[in-house]
Symmetry: C2
Subunit: 360 residues, 2 copies
DNA sequence: CTGAAAGCGCTTACAG
DNA sequence: CTGAAAGCGCTTACAG
């Protein structure tokens, strides 16, 4: 005889209830709700009627237990005050939902997964993990792989050659910005760094320095903003208080560029771009706002998210395939925060962009 | 004899594997990972060693199946380009994680849950649903209740008296803004509406109109921005193109107020607040940026999120308790986008706020 | 196309 | 404190 239920409460209706009402087996109910399974139209009909009557919905957790597929993707994110990330999250979530995947969200103050958080990710049997935050220990990605869970890094890379990633053109973007500043006859460039150990910061700075050197410009002045508003404000004050202040600042992302621009204008009374050029990276929403009109190197949201979703699906299907680093192209979007060069400007798809001579 | 496994692939380690290695029963393994269960220290020790060695992690989905608790909360959100929501999401997710709940995120373009999305929410056996978006059919909340799933409305209410909600002081805020404008000797107020059928818009407008009437001011001019940037820009142009333009615009949220301010300044060449006062609602991050310095009625993030989490926990424990509508207080935060009244300004906790005479 | 049955990985009374 | 056993709600070979 069956014992008392483990926990009291109105028991939800299950497939057996539906089967009884429909006068078929529980297997038939299951097949009716499994896309592609073979059920006679008449059977399906009876089941659907009974299911509707009882308000039956298949239990996705029970299904996951046996299929070993939860259709849940963990997304780890931080810094949601940087508009780049909410945009990514909204697009990513929308696209995954359309493919019948659900997003389990993990946020952490500093963008790193604590051990208990990581344990939770694992316990929920997620089909894949998308790590979307600048700072994060590489150990984590390795742990996931060890547990057999596909990982994808979004907007960052790691040294581990076995971990796939999707990023923008960080190095190339940094280089383009240097060339753009040189073409605009700037003489004293500065670099406002993000989190120094992040791959985005490293690559953007590397490209920028290489580009400056190629153009015969001096090494950039430098201050660190750690990708935060407060950090960027302090770093800007630092740079603008130098005896010989820079005539251009490349900020490692738009989020900091906005703080930089506000400090330059309102605390130092500088005209942008007449007294100082400011360039960002990302092309987020606020970069386009009338008060900022930021010149910036874009990281195109939808191509990046599309690649991410595609990579996630491949990793789920073939967990041990070779890792792939996908780099999405961007453009130097020209608005009003930096002095214009004489050449290389063009209008493409309603946006003004800049390309070094010779590129098409 | 056991048959071939349903699906190939490296089988993850389960509690039986750990039990064998540790030389105990599977029950003992389960108890070791169940907080509060009774296990002898020596047994626990053996189990933990074996678990570590094998890389065992309890399967949360299997646990949910039997406990009927998934420890998953669905959060439905839209408009992540309005900075209010990412802030809410980050805080909510952080707080729920600290209580060992996970957030399953659902985003939809228009903030409403489509039928298939709703089906997914139900299939994942979430313990509760937080609906955080301005527009949303009330039918949804009813469906959830019918299915026995606790629902909480965040930043909106519905007519249904059985649905709990957490909101800011929308009506009171609208009233305070009207009083503030009157005290600042404005004569021609305007209201820039959000989504007209949303409860936030209805309540803010109602309070604003009541406050204007109480102060002897005329009915506001009016245009609809639908809580979007583009909508707010068009609505602002409409208002500022009137023969007798308003001398103050109350925008139903900060997101629109920023667009409004940019259009007023850059398209119409108006000085804010000398030529035109602009007031928002929410007190989001960008409202504080130097280029905007928005005067706005605050919806304090952490109190709202704390109440939400508390309400969710209560609803989970007592699903059929009486609904409660929690209203969180806010302040009229005074910055630089509206002309100042002579009286009622005070500095509290480093913020300048305004309160009508007589309030303390 | 259909049903009976095994099994996914757990929790939890129950009896010791 | 511990183990054997039932059962949570499904999917899916298998045999018909």
């Amino acid at each position: 005889m069956s014992r008392a239920p483990v926990r009291q409460g109105r028991r939800p209706v299950n497939a057996v209830d539906v089967a009884e009402l429909a006068g078929v087996s529980q297997s038939a109910v299951s097949r009716t709700f499994t896309p592609g399974a073979s059920v006679a139209p008449a059977t399906r009909d009876k089941v659907e009627k009974a299911a509707k009557k009882l308000g039956y919905r298949p239990n996705a957790l029970a299904r996951s237990l046996i299929t070993r597929r939860s259709r849940i993707v963990a997304v780890v994110m931080a810094y949601l005050d940087n508009q780049f990330y909410p945009g990514v999250l909204e697009a990513l979530s929308g696209k995954l939902q359309a493919l019948d995947y659900q997003v389990l969200l993990f946020t952490s103050p500093d963008g790193s997964l604590s051990d208990p958080m990581f344990e939770q990710v694992m316990r929920y049997q997620v089909d894949a993990v998308v790590l979307a935050s600048a700072s994060l220990s590489s150990a984590l990605a390795r742990e996931c792989r060890k547990a057999g869970v596909p990982v994808l890094l979004f907007n960052r890379t790691t040294d581990d050659p076995d971990v796939s990633s999707v990023t923008g053109s960080n190095e190339l973007g940094g280089r383009a910005i240097a060339a753009f500043l040189a073409a605009g006859r700037h003489k004293r460039p500065a670099y406002l760094a993000g989190i120094e150990i992040s791959s985005t910061n490293r690559d953007r700075e590397r490209g920028f320095r290489a580009g400056l050197a190629a153009a015969g410009l001096p090494e950039p002045l430098r201050a660190v903003g750690n990708y935060t508003l407060a950090g960027a404000e302090a770093a800007t004050r630092e740079l603008l208080s130098l005896r010989k202040r820079p005539d251009a600042i490349f900020c490692a992302n738009d989020h900091m560029a906005i703080a930089c621009l506000d400090v330059a204008r309102h605390d130092f009374g500088l005209r942008v771009p007449d007294d100082l050029s400011i360039i960002g990276f990302d092309d987020t929403g606020p970069a386009q706002w009338r008060s900022y009109q930021l010149t910036t190197f874009s990281q195109p949201l939808h191509p990046m998210v599309d690649s991410t979703v595609e990579a996630v699906r491949e990793l789920i299907d073939q967990p041990y395939q070779k890792a792939r680093r996908t780099v999405i192209g961007g453009e130097l979007v020209v608005r009003a925060s930096a002095r214009l060069p004489k050449q290389g400007l063009m209008d493409i798809n309603g946006r003004r962009v800049w390309r070094a001579n010779g590129e098409s």
